[in-house]
């Protein structure tokens, strides 16, 4: 009975854990799936409702036609039935899409409704093309499939979906951070001064979101003269309106009420009190605002509306024939505070914004930091799609209107608007199926092209915004799952020179992981959600759309029962500090007395967690208290979607678990069970963290003893963990990814955190437990190099494979002018005879066939020309044919498409990269055989890996030393070691070990040292070792233990570049660049300088001349020309063929001097010759003086 809703959820979560990897993965990708479900089931309909019908009027027939879209829907993906192939099962499954490189998409259709002169509505169901479908969403065939069914479908047993399949690639829509919806923020930004004269850098803004997720940002700028201007954007243009006009256009009140409302925040009795936000200036500003309107000559609401309407008539579409007041109303309805319905609500919100704006201008309230997560929410994939769907449909309707209007204008007599057939024929000019194509384009490229800019920050100046989608690479599970938990700040900020947006702010605690962000350009912009962070959804757990209206009603009634004064006309003037304004989802609902507010907040929190109450469990109750010049006070409640929430424990009531948001968290007193009191003295915490691990993301939570490492090392590990070769998928057999890395014998780490078990990482292991000795041995382990035991390697240490899939599509080849004559076949000609060893008669390779460089793996024969196009394995690579699949054709048709998967063996070689889990990466520099490795005299053990002790002092990765010792002890005891960070700081942990340790006053080392000692090893993890080469005892004891090593995907075999001769640039004769082209490595300016400085002239000459564009040119020493000498065929010069035999075929003759006797051979860079010809082309003659002078002296 006492269970709260959240506790129930947690209980569910626990049950989920028992269910295994599938359920855990599902929880991690939930925001993606939920939001796509919303898009399909509700968002589409909402966006159709949000589109205004188009209207056309033909005066000749007096006919008015309205067209609008209704009931849009997307159907589950079906197989392409163009060829009328009779499939038994029409359903298109994700596996098929992946293997054949097609898109997993469903039919997008809607009713187009026509209405003539208020007659009955005619509906026509129309196809809008096909839209990519998210795997495991409500319209996916895999929805609800259990483990067995998934395996039967050849999917991952723990498949969680959340991605789209576009042309065979798995892509996901990134989550983006955007300004929190319906939340007033005050900011100072210098660029605001450029809006025009008298503008200041202060503004208040609110991002208002409609039910269809499209948004309009309204800004209120503070003016130097004390007034304010309201602004909103429409079609990438900002429109500025004096705020007084809007105020008056929004309500029927007298100026006096507006004046009193605006100046209510000032009360002379309150000056100097905590939370007094108004100053005397406010009174004057209120007068200025009203004066401004009066000066324009506007007195009534109607006048204001007409004033607005007249100015916007030319800008809005489809309002040409409407009265000005109606246009004005429409502007207010469609563009100002679109999240509110009544103009009274809008009026009060505007008053609130002005009050906040003035407080910030007077420095009685601090501006908000928009980069802080408390003012942000997440732009979910489903919401992007919903917005985009509306935008596209609106765009399409607009085009239809323009086509019809043009026809009406051009042929007013022939065209009859009443003729359905004619109208529809015209409409076909605007193909409706292009909408689906646009969706596919969005998913394929991540570029969102839109006229209406969708009000997103990342838009920048160009008309397209990029970076919405990314490929979910299956390099390993960590990388894969991280894609779903990543949150980007927007591509726009990436180019920004200021780094403030990248800062790690304390507000992000518990929501964004401080450790898991990449280095370099995306640092701080690309963050990852913590494991405990959830995103609020639009739907209840049962898939029903949340009833926000009744929720809001319930909350307001609860608040009223707590003594909130509701806003109403003629209300007594309430303002801080005596009263605190209450905003619910961006609507001012009332005021609460400041003295009662704390108990009100407490009351709501208690109700929030109570199962029987109607107040949602994820309600955010952000009470910003009255302070001196702090943030503007208020009680901000929000129940909307796309907010981040996370669980904390209440320390009052029934100690239940409450979901809190980032805005409220800042003002709450939450203690962390890390054993330290955080300097609490006078405050007693109201809430407690469930675990100190809550602040880490999944990947960061897997680093053992990360609390003992220097912090940047943990960041490096987050990066490297995602580059590790591991076990990427259990369905490798059925996958056709471009590139897959696989570790042959992965192991589960001996030292592991609780997260490892919780998230079933054993299903996708990523490393090997290696015996690691820390010593300086032979010098081959200097500078982060490491020595690997060759014999261990031969026994299978870190063996791996790369799978590469090549898709050969005949229909693509067909485009190249050779008609439709290609087929898969081996050529029968003799010169192709050697192919028979590798290819079968059908032109495809034998499975299991070993291929070396330049061996063919596929052959396509052109039946017309009789020529074969042979696909060959790249030079210097050996591969085995792993899998050959004939793709997607009916039984009758000849084969059109194949995918061939090649497998390359990648066993460790010198130059491969490895890393422990503590940001300690290194390159293998030697593979010593067993006999040369040092050995422990007691056990006879030789280490697998030797690393240099210098890797530790400056990097301070104590966690690695701990892991080495602990895992060694674990290996001796046959137990896994718990390496959860912060575990030993938990004062509440009452397990026997820690109690025992406390009694001994010991540390972690003592615990694991004792285990080692008990097994006859040195307490500190060291062992006496003997040199493998000399058989003598090493002078000092060697620290040796077990460390989990990861093999990183960077391998020399993919990177080495070497050439002696090879392709050259045809113009300059210099070697081309690029590894894939077989080019050279640039010997650049600095390298040249270095050789010059060394005086290594011969080497310099060799590098820059002999090995580059060495050329022997002919120069005529008479005229000094390099281009005049030409090779003249001697036959032409009058000799017979016979005479030419044996003789030099060509003779160089200077065409200028008409003689060959002055021709001299001169060695030069070819680039020089090129220069002379270029100069000649510009009428500049270059003379060379050729003489033997130098040689003679």
């Amino acid at each position: 009975m006492g269970l709260s809703k959240v506790e129930q959820r947690i209980k569910q979560k626990e049950r989920v854990q028992e269910l295994g990897a599938a359920a855990v993965a599902r929880r991690l990708v939930k925001p993606h799936i939920d939001s796509f479900d919303y898009f399909v089931e509700h968002g589409l309909q909402q966006s159709a409702l949000g589109i205004r019908p188009i209207e056309l009027f033909q005066s000749a027939t007096n006919c008015r036609l309205r067209i609008w879209i209704e009931r849009p829907s997307i159907s589950p993906p079906l197989k392409d039935d163009r060829d009328k192939t009779q499939f038994l099962d029409q359903r298109l499954r994700p596996l098929e899409c992946r293997q054949s490189g097609i898109t997993y998409k469903g039919q997008f259709s809607a009713d187009i409704c026509y209405q003539w002169n208020d007659q009955a509505v005619m509906r026509f169901s129309t196809s809008f093309g096909q839209v990519p479908v998210m795997v495991k969403s409500s319209i996916c065939h895999l929805r609800g499939a259990d483990r067995n069914k998934l395996i039967a479908c050849k999917e991952e047993a723990s498949e969680a979906g959340g991605y789209f399949i576009c042309n065979g690639n798995e892509r996901i829509i990134r989550m983006l951070l955007v300004t929190k919806r319906n939340h007033v923020v005050a900011i100072r930004r210098n660029s605001y001064k450029n809006r025009g004269p008298a503008y200041t850098d202060i503004a208040c803004l609110i991002r208002c979101v409609r039910p269809d997720q499209s948004s309009v940002t309204v800004r209120v700028y503070y003016m130097q003269y004390g007034g304010a201007t309201l602004a909103f954007s429409y079609r990438r243009q900002e429109f500025l309106i004096p705020v007084g006009i809007i105020l008056k256009a929004l309500s029927h009140t007298q100026d006096r009420e507006i004046f009193e409302l605006l100046s209510s925040i000032y009360d002379e009795n309150n000056s100097g009190k905590r939370g007094a936000v108004g100053t005397q200036l406010v009174v004057q500003r209120a007068q200025i605002i009203l004066e401004e309107v009066r000066r324009v000559g506007l007195f009534t609401r109607l006048q204001c509306l007409e004033y607005i309407g007249e100015r916007f008539r030319a800008i809005l579409e489809g309002v040409e024939d409407q009265p000005a007041a109606a246009v004005g109303e429409r502007v207010i309805e469609d563009h100002i505070f679109v999240h509110l319905e009544t103009s009274l609500d809008k009026f009060h919100l505007l008053i609130f914004m002005l009050q906040k704006l003035f407080a910030v201008a007077d420095h009685t309230a601090a501006p908000d930091n928009v980069d802080a997560i408390q003012h942000q929410e997440i732009l979910l994939p489903g919401h992007v799609l919903t917005m985009y769907a509306k935008d596209r449909m609106q765009d399409w309707l607009g085009k239809v209107r323009r086509v019809l209007a043009k026809e009406l204008e051009d042929k007013p007599n022939e065209f009859d608007l009443q003729d359905v057939k004619k109208v529809q024929k015209l409409m076909d000019k605007v193909p409706s199926t292009s909408i689906g194509k646009r969706f596919e384009y969005l998913l394929n490229t991540g570029n969102l092209a839109s006229k209406h800019s969708l009000e997103l920050m990342q838009v920048g100046s160009c008309s397209e915004s990029t970076g919405y989608t990314i490929v979910a690479e299956r390099l390993n599970y960590l990388r894969y799952i991280s894609h779903f938990r990543s949150v980007h700040r927007g591509a726009y900020f990436q180019s920004l020179r200021t780094t403030t947006v990248r800062k790690l702010l304390p507000e992000s605690w518990g929501f964004l992981c401080p450790v898991h962000t990449p280095d370099g350009t995306p640092c701080g912009l690309l963050n990852h959600l913590t494991v405990s962070c959830e995103i609020t959804s639009d739907m209840e757990a049962n898939g029903v759309l949340r009833d926000y209206l009744s929720m809001r009603k319930e909350i307001v009634s609860v608040l009223s029962s707590y003594g909130m004064v509701s806003v109403s006309p003629g209300l007594a003037h309430c303002a801080p500090p005596s009263h605190v304004p209450v905003l619910l989802d961006g609507r001012v609902v009332g005021y609460v007395e400041a003295s009662r507010i704390v108990s009100v907040v407490m009351g709501i929190r208690l109700l929030k967690v109570l199962r029987s109450s109607d107040i949602p469990a994820d309600l955010e109750v952000a009470y910003v208290p009255c302070t001196f010049a702090g943030p503007y006070p208020g009680l901000f409640l929000s129940i909307g979607p796309a907010r981040m929430v996370r669980p904390v424990k209440q320390l009052f009531g029934e100690q239940s678990v409450e979901m809190i948001g980032p805005l409220e968290q800042v003002y709450m007193d939450i203690s962390c069970p890390d054993g330290i009191d955080n300097g609490w003295e006078d405050v007693s915490p109201t809430h407690m963290e469930i675990s100190p691990m809550a602040m880490l993301s999944i990947v960061a939570g897997l680093t053992p003893w990360s609390d003992h490492n220097q912090s940047p090392r943990n960041m490096y590990q987050c990066q490297m963990g995602k580059q590790t070769m591991g076990f990427p998928a259990q369905t490798i057999q059925y996958r056709a990814d471009n590139k897959l890395y696989r570790l042959q014998t992965p192991q589960t780490p001996l030292a592991r955190t609780l997260r490892h078990t919780e998230y079933h990482m054993d299903e996708f292991p990523t490393g090997t437990n290696a015996i690691v000795a820390v010593l300086s041995y032979t010098g081959y382990d200097m500078e982060d190099a490491m020595i690997i035991n060759k014999s261990s390697m031969e026994r299978g240490l870190c063996h791996g494979q790369i799978y590469k899939t090549e898709t050969i599509d005949l229909s693509r080849l067909n485009k190249k002018a050779d008609g439709f004559n290609n087929k898969f076949a081996r050529h029968t000609q003799l010169m192709y005879h050697s192919h028979a060893k590798f290819l079968d008669i059908d032109g495809l390779p034998y499975v299991g066939q070993r291929l070396k460089g330049d061996d063919p793996y596929c052959s396509v024969l052109n039946t017309m020309t009789g020529r074969a196009k042979v696909f060959k394995v790249k030079n210097s690579e050996t591969a085995v044919v792993d899998y050959v699949a004939a793709v997607g054709t009916g039984p009758k048709e000849p084969l059109q498409k194949v995918t061939i998967r090649l497998r390359q063996e990648r066993n460790p070689v010198i130059g491969d990269k490895f890393s422990s889990r503590h940001g300690q990466k290194g390159i293998c520099s030697q593979l010593w055989p067993d006999i040369d490795m040092p050995f422990s005299h007691v056990t006879g053990m030789r280490p697998d890996i030797i690393i240099n002790p210098h890797a530790f002092p400056s990097r301070m990765t104590i966690g690695m030393l701990l892991e080495s010792m602990a895992a060694k002890g674990g290996a001796l005891e046959g137990k896994f070691v718990d390496a959860t960070p912060f575990k030993y700081n938990l004062s509440s942990s009452s397990d026997r070990d820690s109690v025992a340790r406390e009694q001994k006053g010991g540390t972690l080392i003592d615990e694991y040292g004792d285990i080692l000692r008990a097994h006859g090893f040195n307490y500190h993890g060291t062992e006496v070792m003997y040199s493998g080469v000399f058989g003598t005892e090493l002078v000092c004891e060697i620290f040796i233990g077990v460390v989990y090593y990861q093999r990183l995907r960077h391998m020399v075999s993919d990177k080495f570049q070497v050439r002696s001769r090879g392709p050259v640039n045809p113009v300059t004769q210099q070697p081309v660049k690029g590894r894939s082209a077989g080019g050279g490595i640039r010997f650049g300016e600095m390298e040249r300088d270095s050789l010059l400085a060394h005086g290594a002239a011969y080497l310099l000459h060799d590098r820059m001349h002999t090995c580059s564009d060495y050329h022997i040119g002919s120069v005529c020493s008479n005229c000094g020309s390099l281009i005049a000498p030409m090779a003249v065929s001697q036959a032409k010069a009058g000799h017979t063929h016979l005479l030419a035999v044996g003789a030099k075929r060509n003779k160089e003759v200077c065409r200028y001097c008409n003689s060959g006797k002055w021709i001299e051979k001169v060695a030069m860079p070819f680039a020089f010759r090129y220069l002379t010809s270029e100069l000649a082309a510009m009428n500049v003659k270059l003379n060379l003086k050729v003489s033997d002078e130098l040689r003679n002296t």
């Binding site: 057999q733 042959q744 060759k790 014999s791 261990s792 031969e794 026994r795 299978g796 063996h799 494979q801 299991g848 085995v880 792993d882 497998r903 063996e905 055989p929 067993d930 006999i931 050995f935 422990s936 005299h937 007691v938 056990t939 006879g940 053990m941 080692l1012 000692r1013 006859g1016 090893f1017 040195n1018 307490y1019 060291t1022 062992e1023 006496v1024 003997y1026 493998g1028 080469v1029 000399f1030 058989g1031 003598t1032 005892e1033 004891e1037």
Partner: protein, 326 residues
Amino acid sequence: MDNVSYQRFPTVRIREIKDDFLKFELRNTDASMANALRRVVLAEVPTIAIDLVEIEMNSSVLNDEFIAHRLGLIPLTSERAMDMKFSRDCDACDGDGKCEFCSIEFTLNVKCTSDQTLDVTSHDLVPSDQQYPVYPVGFMERAEYGGYEEDPPEQRGILIVKLRRGQELKLRAIARKGIGKDHAKWSPAATITFQYEPEIHINEALMETLTLEEKKEWVDSCPTKMFDIDANTEQVVVVDAEAYAYDDEIIKKADAMGKPGLVNIISREDSFIFTIESTGALKAADMFLNAIEILKMKLDAVRLSMETEENDDQFGELGAHMRGGL
């Protein structure tokens, strides 16, 4: 000076001998000899291991290279190895497995027909040649009947791959003679280690200054069980000198207790205790004998070559040095 002989006559005293385990003392020699033996056992004693695999059918979950690698690592009984030829030196054949001098052919043909997972183990490797049988280790001791699960673990054989219903593995494998230097699969030794024999001298006089408590504390400070306290005399006695791991723990402890020189431990530079563990391919003792044989052969090679001046090319200055003069 020339007449002084430095020749020593090393002796071996065997402490413990089992098929796969050998512990002995090697005396009257130095670390170079001991280490040379260790290195030869690890890297140069020949054994037989699967080196070439021809896969006819593989529908298991592991790919061909993976299975080939696993097969290679299975130890085969290698008593014949010393008499065999390296396939690269074999004149009688081209190394295709048909040659009795250098290669042994195995076949493996397993298909799973039941619903239960089938374990393919080293016992399924069948040698084609019955004349000089070479088997996977443990093949002769395998249980005649019963499935994998019923057999005691040591008789189950080495697991190669698991098959589910319908999966099949059919291959031909050729085992060849080789040495650990070429690939670790030919190394006959699992572990080989030696240590200097320690000599422990307790300063009895100083020891007597300790109380029983202190003695206990001191004795316990050693991670290995080296010392004990005689229950009757309350004197510290050496129980197992060789348990000393040269970790200086007790010396440090004595220093920490303010009694430096309580114990003096010297390692005897000419006396070694060897421990050898075999993979099963060879008997531990054979392994060691073979190693001596090979070491002798290597030395012979050096001696032979140093007698001919032509080999100056090979040995350079060393050759001239060996012949005694420049």
